[in-house]
Symmetry: C2
Subunit: 341 residues, 2 copies
């Protein structure tokens, strides 16, 4: 039986002033509207004693701003990836005194509409539309202030986007090998060797390949995987080993790399002694396997954080329409790359 919340009216009565005065003091507009120092102190003291906290719902109704934002993802919340993205968004939000609604659309436009409505009905100040993997999406109409996270608008929509810098990541991966002296005999697992050999809809595959090529690293060959799962990595690498003897592999993500490790092991090849491996994503398994995998990290946490930052910047009118923010993907140097002997 918790006692009723303390309202502004209670506070005003306790301090012996009007609700107006109490409100002015609590919102820091006392000076501006000539409330005496004496009265101000009285109100503040009473607020402290009563433990007064303004009812955010009421404030939301009156002011139209709720200090709340919505985070809608296709199915992001379920994957590990998502966790960190949400965590980043959460912390950036907390720093601004903002709460996060989350919702998952499961890729169903109908569900998505419902979620967006539910959030708009609750007067969210803005919305983050997040995608599980980097891709282009159609932006719903009348969405209000919003940013796209890990996604780009298909027909240009004017909304800002936050995406990982996959091209630079490709360059980084290639440079790791080049720096270790691997200039040839490098194969790609998961896509390639050309830009047309990629899984459907995969922005990441294309951009990573572009980045790799830009460094001048010569790709000796590649194997596409329909999906970047361990078993496909295993099969692709087995097939590759049947015909070639690579000195280095670029795996297009860590799960594929896990499969590659297995295939290399079967073939009696050691990592990194016989074959160096570099990968992408920095999934937790990258540091759970032996040798620990050198990989270019997807900056999930930073992406989430940046999304909130950009959302607020946008609401402050500081963002160009359609501006794209690319978040750097850092290299995690571990144990799967050795100098070319």
């Amino acid at each position: 039986m918790s006692r009723r919340r303390v309202t502004l009216a209670d506070l005003a009565e306790a301090a012996g002033v009007s609700r107006t005065t109490a409100s002015l003091v609590m919102t820091g507009r006392g000076r501006e509207l000539r409330i005496s120092h004496d009265v101000e102190q009285r109100v503040l003291r009473a607020a402290d004693e009563l433990g007064y906290r303004p009812n955010a719902v009421s404030v939301g109704l009156r002011t139209g701003t709720t200090r709340t934002i919505g985070f809608v993802s296709d199915t992001v919340a379920t994957s590990r990836l998502a966790g960190d993205m949400i965590k980043g968004a959460l912390e950036a939000a907390r720093e601004r005194g903002v709460m996060l609604f989350i919702g998952e659309s499961e890729g169903d436009p109908e569900l998505e509409r419902g979620l967006l409505h539910a959030m708009q009905d609750r007067q969210v100040d803005g919305i983050i539309l997040a995608s599980m993997f980097t891709r282009t999406i159609k932006v719903p109409k009348d969405i209000g202030p919003a940013v796209l996270l890990n996604a780009l608008p298909r027909p240009a929509s004017g909304l800002p986007s936050i995406v990982p810098d996959e091209i630079e990541a490709g360059r980084s991966a290639a440079r790791v090998l080049l720096d270790a002296g691997h200039h040839d005999e490098v194969y790609v697992i998961g896509a390639g060797p050309t830009l047309r050999d990629v899984p459907a809809d995969s922005v990441a595959a294309v951009e990573r390949l572009i980045g790799i090529q830009e460094t001048g690293l010569k790709i000796a060959g590649g194997r596409v995987c329909p999906d970047w799962q361990p078993e496909h990595g295993l099969a692709a690498t087995r097939a590759l080993l049947a015909e070639h003897r690579p000195r280095a592999l670029i795996c297009l993500n860590d799960r594929v790399a896990l499969g590659a490790y297995q295939a290399l092991g079967e073939a009696g090849l050691s990592v990194p002694g016989d074959v160096s491996v570099v990968s992408f994503d920095d999934h937790p398994i990258a540091s759970w396997i032996w040798p620990k995998l050198t990989t270019v990290a997807l900056p999930h946490y930073e992406l989430g954080r940046k999304a909130v930052e950009v959302l607020f910047a946008q609401m402050a009118g500081e963002v160009e329409p359609g501006q794209v923010f690319r978040v750097p993907m850092p290299v995690r140097h571990r144990e799967s790359v050795a100098p070319r002997s």
Copy 2:
């Protein structure tokens, strides 16, 4: 420049009735308060044409209920585990037309207080207090309607708890081995052999061991790991293999099992030919490694879902104070167990 939202007043004007009447119709109380079928239809048609949706903030202020619940975890949102828990909660919430606020306390009581306040200020209807791993927690005062997810109240608090049924999970794991004919030469990695050989604060370790023992399975020995990470599993299994020749291992989670796989491989022992392995959690890696790991799954999704269900049941007064709900942990039969030869 989206046009202003349609309000009840707009709707009333369009339908040529009072706001009261419009409200009554929209809340379904038209019959009860004798609004004629004719007028009712007029209002409904106008609502449809204008696309009227009630402002949830206003409704929240007036009725005191916001169709919103808070999900506060220590650090759950970051781990994979969390994702599914949130997903389960999210879906159960959506079925009830409820939105979810999420927050992470990072285990910091001060932060937790702040989050709970922020949620209470926004008039959440209830709160789910979630923990990353099963443990006992101190429940904050004046929290209002709430349930504990993956946690038990330290001083009894009257709040209901939802936890995985770890004891039954222990039984299940043991039974998997017993059914395959493994009655002896079974070792535990991660804890044991006695109930005092467990990592600090680990409810899961204790209960899993209890369950195992209850089946009558004879535990030949065990190795504690300070933390259930792959490298500790690796070290513990190496140490075990230096002294014993197990025919089966019960790993206390999948990450530990990953380490055990590595150690067994080094020792030239094959899974499941030489050694059967059964584990707990059903982490994604369990099906990424070879042979795929037979494991007793932590039902994250179900836990999240149940939390929302219990929260609503509790608000409806259908839950005993302090009631504990144990969610079954299903066995995922895969390829790491073979009959004892």
